[in-house]
Symmetry: C2
Subunit: 458 residues, 2 copies
């Protein structure tokens, strides 16, 4: 461990400079105008893998954004760890709230500020630097593969198609995913469950063109009003989901399971203060932490209708639309949940209105076993680097491919991430702690050594 | 009349070319970036007045966009007609739906297509060309003043301040407003009432930044959902306004009055077909035409929250906002109505939400007398040019200053307009019939002669 730590310290500035270079590439997967930037990020990664001696290392073209695959072969007799990350990032809007350019990374108060710093370029790159460090110190203790995708923020379509067709290429004993967070105060944590997700879009059509609100107002149904009525029907007054049958498949957790997860320190006052709200909402039978992890949710991500520029424009808009995502928990099924919501919305179109509800990308919820050697090795590595054993936690977010690694590749996923809530991922001024980045490198390197040890003992 | 008609025919191409020049100036009053264009339009008008021999002719600077005043003095013994129009236009969005550039006017199928063609540049300019024609034929029969404003589409603030301070300058016997429409099939009509208006904006604040909908979804109130709930509460299921007391001051019309207004041909099937809706909504006790003219309405003009770009962004938005306008009828008071709506919205903020409701520009509703010589002269002129007497109609739109001409200047307004419903004002591909423009010139010229005749007959 001392050699790993010393090596990270020695190369610290280079490791940080490389990450900054990576962050300068605006690889926003959702925006077609950024397609070339997304590809640029993939090519940049290929170069970095090549520099660190990957035997096989390639950009894989897909119908969408490319995949990057790399392999460090040590011996067919040793286990293989597959590392997963994504090099695409969320759109940076609203731009006006950034204190720096979202793709002009700066170091400030021990943090690197840029879109993707934590989600997930910083975390994907620290996995790569762990290999770099091991090669410079103990040597790689096992075979390591990497699969880095460019569509995580838009549903992982290409990788979802690639996985079942490339089981042999991606064959591994465990898949290490670094795209989650630790607990406040950098208390180490391993995510043992993720919510699934499904995205929907609703468009309400009214008149065939924007109308003068004076000439037509009072006799013509306003699509913005219709959309508001439809969206209002989705939740009860306390914030629970009002879609019939929506909770039917949700597995209730035992009191023991709830108690174990409640070990994770959660300060509701701080939670609210950090996001500037005066109260939490949601299902009263569950704690705020439970509402965001072991219970499903349904949120409007955006909506637009009519004139939204400066001043006033007295139109009765022609249409109104909204984007929604539902977060799912075991044993909800993404397509069943989406169909329930879509049907409910269609049933709630006010009379005279026409609405289209379309279902977008989805991912199933995941629960991870704590009995696997991968979990135990990760636990040892975290204890070594961060000074205490990790707390098992359930995450509220979704990593679409994690469920696929499990169900398609039959490789158990291990969710060891190094982010913090304060990273503000998906928000303006996203950042990543320099300590988290550097200690993350140490932790992944240590994990690889512990994993091989446990397997060879087992 | 023959000389007027011949003169219009002779100068037709020039009159059209001048209007096209006027339409090329993107004088969008709502958008600060167009402030210089708005001023450019005012200066352009000053030049046109000067060319046609106005004795007094000036651009009047204000706190907002400038006013243009012009005066043609004939004799202090003769009556004075004040002509009113506006040279500002609505924003052209959504740009993608225009078949030509909104400020690159084209002539197509007997119509001039451009933003402002009908509302109100075409109509303001035909008043000016009527003076041009009279000066070339019979000579001006009376004194004529013009006041042309650049803020009609944003609440007429500058003119509202200017009017009470310049009673002498604007003194007149009648004010001719050409900013309304005829009936389908170019059946002449004179507007005997207008709805008032008041604008409001609502902003709901949620968390202090856009949040990751996975990490926070389920425990944090979504401002888009809160806004939807607030806006949904504004109407009953049938489309009536649910704000308590909102209809209290509305003057009920007698059966006779309703019968007179029902003379205006109104084809509900055609009304719906032209705007592409399958049904009308609104108060069941009133006809669709009544709902848009003698009854108040309340519409969402625009709303926005969160991510509305391509693809998906899984945020729980930080805020959500909407623009609204209410249309008012006698004897509703704009500030009372606005306060009722604002209070109602504030009362309907879901618990845990914070909302700001602000009240913007307003205008009182207007009813015009049919006994005034102005109405009779206009009626004679319309019969002469269009082949039948005009139908008295109530308009659903608002012309903020019309109420002020009445209450502040004590000058009776006469609403003789030449637009058509098919003009699509405030919408993409706004247009104005070439026939309406040219016959509008003839009608205004004829009106001036009839008016002086009626006054001199006593």
């Amino acid at each position: 461990m001392e050699r790993i730590r010393a090596c990270v310290a020695e190369h610290e500035e280079r490791f940080l400079a490389e990450l900054m270079d990576f962050l300068r590439i605006p690889s926003v997967s959702a925006v077609p105008a950024h397609a070339r930037d997304v590809r640029h990020a993939a090519l940049w990664l290929v170069d970095r893998f090549r520099e660190t001696g990957a035997q096989d290392c390639r950009l894989i073209d897909t119908a969408g954004h490319p995949l990057v695959f790399a392999e460090y072969r040590v011996s067919p007799d040793l286990p293989t760890i597959l590392c997963y990350g994504h090099y695409d990032v969320q759109p940076p809007d609203p731009l006006g709230l950034w204190h720096c350019g979202p793709f002009e990374p700066v170091r400030r108060e021990g943090r690197i500020v840029a879109r993707g710093a934590s989600d997930d370029k910083g975390q994907a790159y620290l996995q790569m630097k762990a290999v770099d460090v091991l090669r410079r110190t103990h040597g790689l203790p096992c075979n390591v593969k990497f699969i880095v995708e460019g569509e995580e923020e838009v549903g992982s379509t290409a990788l979802s198609t690639f996985l079942p067709a490339n089981r042999e290429l991606l064959k591994a004993d465990v898949v290490l995913v670094s795209d989650t967070a630790m607990l406040p105060g950098n208390v180490p944590a391993i995510t043992v469950g993720l919510r699934g997700i499904v995205a929907l879009e609703v468009e309400v059509e009214g008149p065939s063109r924007d109308l003068h609100s004076g000439i037509y107002g009072g006799a013509v149904a306003n699509p913005a009003t219709m959309l508001c009525r439809m969206l209002s029907s989705l939740h009860t007054n306390d914030g629970a989901i009002a879609v019939p049958g929506y909770y039917d498949e949700v597995v209730p957790l035992s009191q023991e399971e709830r108690a174990m997860l409640a070990q994770a320190p959660f300060d509701a006052e701080r939670f609210m203060r950090e996001i500037g709200v005066a109260a939490c909402i949601g299902e009263s039978a569950f704690t705020p932490l439970e509402r965001t992890t072991i219970r499903p949710s349904l949120d409007i991500n955006g909506m637009i209708s009519g004139y939204t520029g400066p001043g006033s424009k007295t139109v009765l808009p022609s249409k109104a639309s909204a984007k929604l995502t539902a977060r799912l928990v075991p044993n909800q099924d993404a397509s069943v949940a989406a169909e329930r919501i879509a049907r409910f919305l269609r049933e709630h179109v006010p009379s005279g209105g026409r609405a289209t509800v379309s279902v977008g990308h989805g991912a199933e919820p995941v629960v991870v076993s704590m009995d696997h050697p991968g979990y135990r090795a990760a636990s040892q590595a975290m204890a070594e680097v961060w000074g205490r054993s990790p707390v098992p936690i359930r995450g509220g977010g979704s990593i679409p491919v994690v469920a696929l690694f499990h169900s398609v590749l039959r490789v158990p996923p291990l969710l060891m991430g190094f982010g913090q809530d304060a990273d503000a991922i998906h928000s303006p001024n996203e950042s990543f702690g320099v300590e988290n980045y550097l200690k993350g490198i140490e932790t992944v390197a240590s994990f690889m050594r512990h994993y091989v040890q446990l397997i060879s003992q087992g």
